[in-house]
Symmetry: C2
Subunit: 239 residues, 2 copies
């Protein structure tokens, strides 16, 4: 059987009980090198197979082939295995005679939100700024649609060396319709060493230097700062 | 201290290790009656305080007041405590001298996605159809914006006795710009007794009878059915 397991932020206690049991019971754990290195701390005596970024297809295929041989294989993803994770690729690659189970996990939108306060307490969108497989024009169209309809946004993959200006471009789109004082936040290295968080305005976010390990939150027009926390009200009347 | 804890779908193994430890170690667990009844199965010897729906403010205030007396209080929410959960309301009600910690959990978007396959593997929006605290016109505007920009949608609270026609209205908005054959899915009672799932077209979804315990997924133009699973490709080239 092939289990596609999201292990959450990387902190052991952000893992679900089901993910923990699946990893502990696997014959083989397959994943991206950085994720495998995290799991080796918690499950040191397991057999692992890891490959680097850009080798996702090869990695999934290896997991599929090994599961077909009758092994209990776990393919690990950080966060939730279904959100920008490997679950869809496995379904696309696998044939119908393989038993596949997706085990959900806490995605960065949720784990990062808990660090900042409660930014996602109303309708929100999760968008990746990575244009490796999605045209940048479509990503920008989506950001404009979110901003126009006052949705909170949670942005994954906000930057990379090649895409260093993308976050600024995204903010500039939002700035055309939302106040420059819109409350925004970032969390870097969620649940890992050197976790850092910050709250800033949309105007400030446009010049913020994010990296690949940062998750960005852009509030809606009601989002506010309460005692240093980023809070999007659900709408209850609070006197 | 007041911990606001998302316990996931309701299946014990969908809970994070941190949530489980927090609940097990609490002096008092506060929550909506239905949620408290779920937790009593797993943690039978704890002290609980529960109130019914529409009593969220009173419930949060009780949790805050009890935590201020020096007790270790856990306020529980299903899914993630920050996504349509109580975290934002607590921040709004609490004063600055209370130690508050949000513990993230697996939200229904993720746990339901795992049941269906991998519907959320690309940019997506989470929208509630409940107009208790959000104008229906704004909700419809958001649905139109998502459909126009080809975002996958995950819909919470798709129906209630009073709002029985809302899901159809939402689908009709999407049908104006997306194919009637767009792949959609639903999961009812995620992780609980009588969990049921189904995959259907957008046209069929418009006439589907959802209830309060159903989570709905509307695919984007690339979402497809593979071996009975709802899969939104991430974009990898699969020959």
């Amino acid at each position: 059987m092939l289990r596609i397991v999201g292990f959450g932020s990387g902190a052991k206690d952000n893992m679900t009980l089901e993910a923990s049991v699946a990893i502990a019971g696997a014959d083989l754990i397959v994943g991206y090198t950085t994720y495998v290195d995290i799991l080796k701390q918690y499950f040191p005596d397991k057999e692992y197979y890891s490959t680097n970024m850009m080798q996702e297809k090869e990695r999934c295929q290896y997991a599929i082939d090994t599961a077909k041989e009758g092994k209990e294989v776990v393919l690990v993803c950080s966060g939730d295995s279904g959100i920008y994770g490997m679950a869809s690729l496995v379904y696309e690659l696998a044939e119908d005679n393989l038993d596949i189970k997706v085990i959900s996990g806490v995605t960065a939108a949720s784990s990062g939100s808990a660090c900042l306060g409660a930014p996602l307490s109303h309708d929100f969108a999760v968008i990746s700024l990575s244009d490796c497989m999605t045209p940048w024009e479509l990503i920008k169209k989506r950001i404009k649609a979110m901003a126009d309809s006052d949705m909170v946004m949670c942005i994954y993959n906000p930057s990379s060396r090649r895409r260093s200006g993308y976050l600024k471009e995204a903010c500039d789109i939002v700035l055309k319709v939302q106040s420059p004082d819109t409350v925004c936040g970032y969390v870097r290295n969620i649940g890992r060493e050197n976790e850092t968080t910050g709250i800033l305005t949309l105007k400030e976010l446009a010049d913020f230097k994010a990296d690949m390990f940062t998750t960005i939150y852009i509030g809606n027009s009601h989002t506010k700062v309460i005692n240093g926390k980023m809070v999007t009200p659900r709408g209850y009347k609070v006197v």
